[in-house]
């Protein structure tokens, strides 16, 4: 190692990134605005989740079985988590009044969680026995309908069960993941609005109060969340007067959230624990899916050109630094710290804390496996087949991912 870092900005990574600075910087001084980074973060996280859903489809090919198990696993985890002090903290963060008792206020969590990750829309009804939320934008609409079912049961019905009181059953009669114009979540109390019982994953409806749905036509749909809209003062504000700025939302989960990935990861962990699948086999499937995704991302010449333009890569830079620049922007965007060890035309080396990539202790090491495979795949198409990307472990602490991008001959490709 030469410890050679070419002249570049930012030298001290992290200090120049959010939230201290209104923009992210590429190694070539190109600024990526806070606004763009926020949107980039949510779409990137959704894309990673989409790959994890493919992993899930390989492991559990049957749609109904997959959805049921994903809903159940997520539901158990959410109900457990929100039954603890974590649930109380969420109540306080959303300004839930002490007299609000029942499953309906989870709709407020849904609303704030949606806007936090760029899913803009509106609350159409908010009462003890019925609530309705309509979404206009969803970066996760590329995952497929499973994620809609899981977030409705695991993320809403199950959380509402954790709080007790008058219960609510959440349904999603429209979903962008299924091709609908909107996502629409309707929560109903079954004592007031009886409906036949159904499996937990069968939550696309029908609902009892379809005649109360308020449909927003396309021309009145939002394109941006409250925190990016001038009339909202660039703040998200829920119905109980809790306000958060875009910067607060970005740094408190907007950029780091792994919605979708966590749903899959929770079930995969359970399956590994129950010996339904071995960790080695799971890692192999994750690697195959993400490596293919990485290669595909830059397989077309215009994708390479687009990325170079976006990062501001000089024309004569045609080596591992291009991929390094891309990785740095991703890491800054998702608020993962890293240290530049090498950054020159022969090699690029970063030290990245595992926590920056994994983001959920319970899912380790699945995201590390996924990112290493995806970036390895990218090295082949973004830089060239002589190039590779791998993790070096010798002499490196376990909690650090030492990432190396350099030329490498590997007769076995793994």
């Amino acid at each position: 190692m030469k410890n050679c870092v070419d002249s570049r900005i930012p030298r001290e990574v992290g200090a120049g990134a959010l939230p201290d600075h209104p923009a992210i910087k590429t190694p070539w001084e190109k600024l990526i605005s806070f606004y763009d980074a926020y949107h980039y973060a949510t779409r990137h996280n959704a894309a990673v989740a989409a790959c994890f859903m493919e992993v899930m489809r390989i492991i559990i090919p049957d749609y109904a079985t997959r959805c049921k198990r994903l809903c159940e696993a997520t539901g158990r985890a959410m109900k457990g988590a929100f039954s603890t002090a974590f649930g109380k903290m969420h109540k306080e963060n959303n300004g839930i009044h002490p007299f609000m008792q029942g499953g309906y206020f989870t709709a407020l969590y849904g609303d704030s969680g949606d806007e936090r990750i760029g899913l803009c829309g509106r609350v159409n009804d908010f009462g003890t026995y019925r609530a309705e939320k309509e979404l206009d934008v969803c970066d996760w609409d590329i995952l497929g309908s499973e994620v809609c079912r899981i977030s409705t049961y695991g993320g809403l019905t199950s959380i509402s069960q954790a709080y007790g009181g008058i219960p609510m059953e959440y349904h999603m009669p429209e979903a962008k993941g299924c091709g609908d114009l909107h996502c629409r979540v309707v929560a109903e109390n079954r004592d007031k609005y009886p409906m036949p019982e159904h499996e937990c994953w069968e939550n696309f409806g029908p609902i009892a109060t379809a005649d109360q749905i308020k449909f927003t036509p396309e021309e009145k749909m939002f394109k941006e969340c409250q925190q990016f809209r001038e009339e909202c003062g660039y703040k998200y504000r829920n119905g109980l007067d809790q306000e958060y700025t875009a910067a607060e939302l970005y740094t408190s989960g907007g950029a780091t959230n792994i919605t979708g990935t966590d749903y899959c990861g929770l079930l995969l962990k359970e399956m590994v624990g129950a010996n339904e699948i071995g960790m080695e086999e799971l890692s192999n499937i994750i690697t195959c899916v993400f490596e293919a995704a990485g290669k595909t991302m830059f397989a077309e010449f215009f994708a390479v050109k687009g990325l170079r333009d976006w990062l501001g890569v000089p024309a004569d830079v045609k080596d591992g630094r291009v991929l390094g620049g891309y990785i740095e922007v991703i890491l800054q965007t998702i608020l993962a710290n890293y240290t530049i060890v090498e950054f020159n035309k022969e090699e690029v080396v970063y030290d990245i804390p595992v926590s920056g990539i994994e983001r959920r202790i319970a899912l380790r090491p699945m995201l590390t496996t996924a990112y290493l495979a995806m970036w390895y795949g990218m090295s082949k198409t973004l830089v060239g087949s002589q190039w590779s990307l791998w993790r070096e472990t010798e002499g490196v602490p376990e909690d650090i991912i030492r990432l190396k991008i350099a030329k490498k001959i590997d007769k076995f490709c793994r």
Partner: protein, 338 residues
């Protein structure tokens, strides 16, 4: 076209009308901060624009809380329990504690969040006094509005405050330790039938329909306004110093630029986005001009119409104006509907 979520809902109508015609009772615990110490009165008088020092023991007072710009950041009811001991009823206790922390200076005061140890039930409506008299050790016939007294339900010590958020002339609140709330609930349930009373369970009735009909505010209506804009300047004590006074004096001299008006919409099946459901609310358009936004919108079962509030430009609006809100025709009104 969709059904009006209020008008066609018999459960909501029944609960609303119980409070208006007989009595309704419901769990209505707010956040409660207990503040004590020899400087408590002085600190509260500096933090709140309405007078605190003049409050008698056992008395209660509504007041806004302002920031240095004279803008409302909370509204509370303060109970004076003893000479130097108060309860502050709020829905934003975290912000309140932070605000007091920032402004207490060297004051000799202590405050603690007692929300977890103090539950509250609202008993509201014309028959609420009779219902309470049936379960309390001491009758509340002579208890005046905005007073709080010790009492008992069986052996359970309670505090009874005469107040409420329904606009009813007769209405009470029962403060009780959480471990004994089951006894209070049982007693109310046991006696409700004799007075035609009903347990209220719908959030929209507790918070929106009853209060809006009578001109009561939520923070979505008055947050970040100044008291002159929303008609809350009347109780201010201008003879003392309080946070926001300087800015407010300027508003007083220049006049309020906005006003909080009511509105009605005759059409039944409307959807009007309002701040009570998050966001900033729909635009209010008068004579083709954007004049403000809707703060809340609900249905007035007693009024028999969709009703709401809108914060609008004073110079461009007056009661009686026709407005367009999300394509629906509305009429601007006073804030008190019944």
């Amino acid at each position: 076209m969709f059904k009006n979520v209020y008008k066609n809902d018999p459960m909501k109508r029944e609960q609303h009308e119980a409070v208006r015609k007989t009595a309704g009772w419901y769990y209505f615990t707010h956040q409660l901060l207990e503040i004590s110490g020899k400087d408590a009165t002085a600190l509260l008088d500096r933090v709140y624009p309405n007078p605190i020092a003049t409050l008698k023991n056992g008395g209660a007072r509504y007041t806004t809380m302002l920031n240095e710009d004279g803008l409302i950041i909370d509204d509370v009811v303060i109970f004076r329990l003893e000479e130097n001991k108060y309860w502050i009823s709020t829905l934003f206790v975290r912000k309140l504690i932070a605000w007091l922390d920032a402004h207490k200076g060297e004051s000799k005061v202590e405050y603690k969040n007692i929300t977890d140890v103090t539950d509250m039930y609202a008993v509201q409506g014309p028959k609420s006094r009779d219902l309470l008299n049936a379960i309390l050790a001491e009758k509340v016939d002579d208890q005046k509005f905005f007073t709080i007294r010790e009492n008992k339900i069986g052996d359970v010590p309670v505090k009874i405050s005469r107040a409420g958020f329904t606009g009813e002339k007769i209405g009470y609140e029962i403060y009780v330790a959480p471990e004994q709330k089951g006894i209070v609930e049982a007693k109310l349930a046991e006696n409700e039938k004799a007075f035609g009373a009903l347990r209220i369970t719908e959030f929209q009735i507790m918070v929106l329909t009853l209060a809006t009909e009578k001109g009561f505010y939520l923070m979505c209506d008055i947050g970040k306004t100044n008291p002159f804009e929303v008609g809350l300047d009347r109780g201010i004590n201008w003879d003392k110093d309080f946070i926001g006074k300087e800015a407010l004096l300027k508003v007083k001299a220049e006049g309020a630029k906005r006003q909080l008006l009511g509105f009605t919409v005759d059409e039944d099946d409307v959807f009007i986005a309002s701040k009570d459901k998050g966001g900033v609310g729909d635009l209010v358009i008068v004579k083709g001009e954007e004049v403000g936004r809707v703060t809340k919108c609900t249905y007035g079962f007693t009024v028999g119409k969709n009703i709401g509030y809108a914060l609008v430009e004073s110079a461009k609006t007056q009661v009686g104006d026709t407005a367009v809100i999300n394509g629906y025709t509305a009429v601007l009104t006073d804030r008190v509907f019944v």
